[in-house]
């Protein structure tokens, strides 16, 4: 028997007064957890969040979720979860500064296995929360130069294909990537339904 369905609660903007204490020191560094280091290749991801006309946005909260270096999520819904890196939590939070800039330190995610045997390209899910955003915005970060991008089931949803470029973090030196998030405008980042 189907149980009654309750409707999800309405979202609201995070507003301008999200407590600074909630962007905990180290929350943007996924490579260290409980005093131990995650396996895999360390990468730094930097970028800027801008609103219409390229104006930088301060006080934007970004949260990320990703698989470990072997493409395993630390979550029981992943059939491979018991092999997940015990020293990798997979979640992080950062806030933008006065220049709209943010920074995450993490490890390059592996390719996640879908239950039918296909593989996703390495990617990081990103949620954007900001004053003036009545609802969260969901996007996904991929990595420049990875051949698997061409076959990723989510990246393939982005049409026209030229818009896919905005979801691909650009190599910016050894183990460094650049990923700008443009909320609104002709060159805006593609976002997904949440």
């Amino acid at each position: 028997m189907m149980s009654a369905v309750s409707m999800p609660i309405g979202e609201a903007t995070i507003g301008p007064f999200f407590p600074g204490a909630y962007v905990d020191a180290g929350a943007n560094d996924l490579t260290r957890w409980q005093g131990r280091s995650a396996q895999g290749q360390l990468i730094d991801i930097r970028g800027r969040v801008t609103e219409d006309e390229g104006v930088p946005l301060q006080n934007v909260v970004l949260e990320i979720w990703q698989a470990d270096a072997n493409g395993i999520y630390r979550h029981p819904a992943d059939p491979r979860a018991k092999h997940a890196d015990a020293d990798f939590f997979g979640w992080g939070r950062a806030a933008t500064d006065a220049d709209g800039a943010f920074h995450f330190r993490t490890i390059m995610p592996g390719r996640t296995h879908l239950p039918n045997g296909t593989l996703r390209a390495p990617h990081i899910n990103v949620v954007v929360l900001a004053s003036g955003l009545m609802r969260q915005l969901q996007t996904v970060m991929f990595f420049e130069g990875n051949a698997a991008n061409a076959t990723d089931a989510v990246l393939a949803c982005v049409h026209p294909a030229a818009f896919q470029e905005a979801l691909i973090a650009k190599a910016d030196g050894p183990r460094k990537y650049r990923f700008d998030i443009r909320l609104c405008g002709a060159d805006e980042t593609p976002f997904f339904e949440d």
């Binding site: 369905v5 309750s6 909630y22 939590f89 982005v158 909320l183 609104c184 805006e188 949440d194």
Partner: protein
């Protein structure tokens, strides 16, 4: 505390779909009179993506990553915040009504005078040295949290389109998967400012709007030194089902 997960019902599916959000039950993204919404909302339609493990997993046991705090925001005796003492009973539920135990909840609010203890708040109202106005707490085994705080004051939104925010409490909730993440605001029943608030009324469906307003527990049923309010946060995610391939 462990979180039970029973989301993925089809072992062989590669992707999942979730019922779309019912029209009007979420706020409109662009709100007239709130100019930042138009400058920050994407101009192109959002893309519908197939859901994969990436959306149907998510961070559990966040207390291992984010430091929990006391659920007593009001403080005690000489260090008690000014204002009307209240208790917020928050219930976090899946769409089938089942409780979500052990999930993290963040709350933040203005003090009794309508001022946030935040550098961005330059309102004229005074700070209260005994009130920071935030708590980060995990739900108990029944998916509930009880927060002791004071009733927040209303405050004006600065700018040319100045309006007053009714008393409200911000909540940030995770649930069990990436899709269940939600940031919302809770309002108080019967406040005349509710009917004028641009943010509350951006939810055009009246029933959905009512779900953003807490329920006042009759005082006879809640003895003690505080007024008690109950509020339920239902998160998405549980209704994800394997995609049917033709």
């Amino acid at each position: 505390m462990s979180i039970q997960v029973d989301l993925v019902k089809g072992a062989k599916a590669d992707t999942y779909t979730i019922p779309p959000i019912v029209d009007g039950t979420q706020p409109t993204r662009i709100v007239e009179g709130y100019p930042q919404t138009a400058r920050r909302t994407p101009s192109r339609p959002l893309l519908r993506r197939p859901l994969t493990l990436s959306e149907l997993t998510g961070p559990l046991d966040l207390s291992g990553r984010l430091a929990a705090t006391s659920a007593d925001v009001a403080g005690q005796s000489a260090r008690r915040a000014l204002g009307q003492l209240i208790v917020l009973r928050l219930a976090v539920r899946d769409e089938d009504g089942s409780p979500i135990a052990g999930t993290m909840v963040e709350m933040w609010q203005a003090n009794a005078a309508g001022r946030y203890a935040h550098p961005n708040d330059s309102d004229h109202a005074p700070l209260d040295p005994h009130f920071q106005g935030n708590a980060r707490v995990q739900t108990d085994a029944s998916g509930n949290i009880e927060i002791r705080t004071i009733k927040p004051g209303a405050y004006p939104v600065p700018g040319p389109d100045r309006w007053w925010r009714p008393p409200h409490v911000h909540f940030s909730v995770w649930g069990k998967v990436w899709l269940s993440r939600v940031v919302t605001q809770m309002f108080f029943p019967g406040d005349p400012l509710n009917e004028q608030d641009l943010i509350l009324n951006a939810v055009v469906d009246a029933e959905a709007r009512a779900r953003l307003v807490a329920r006042s527990v009759p005082t006879q049923a809640a003895p003690g030194d505080a007024l008690v309010f109950e509020h339920t946060v239902v998160v998405r995610g549980k209704r994800a089902t394997p995609t049917e391939h033709a």
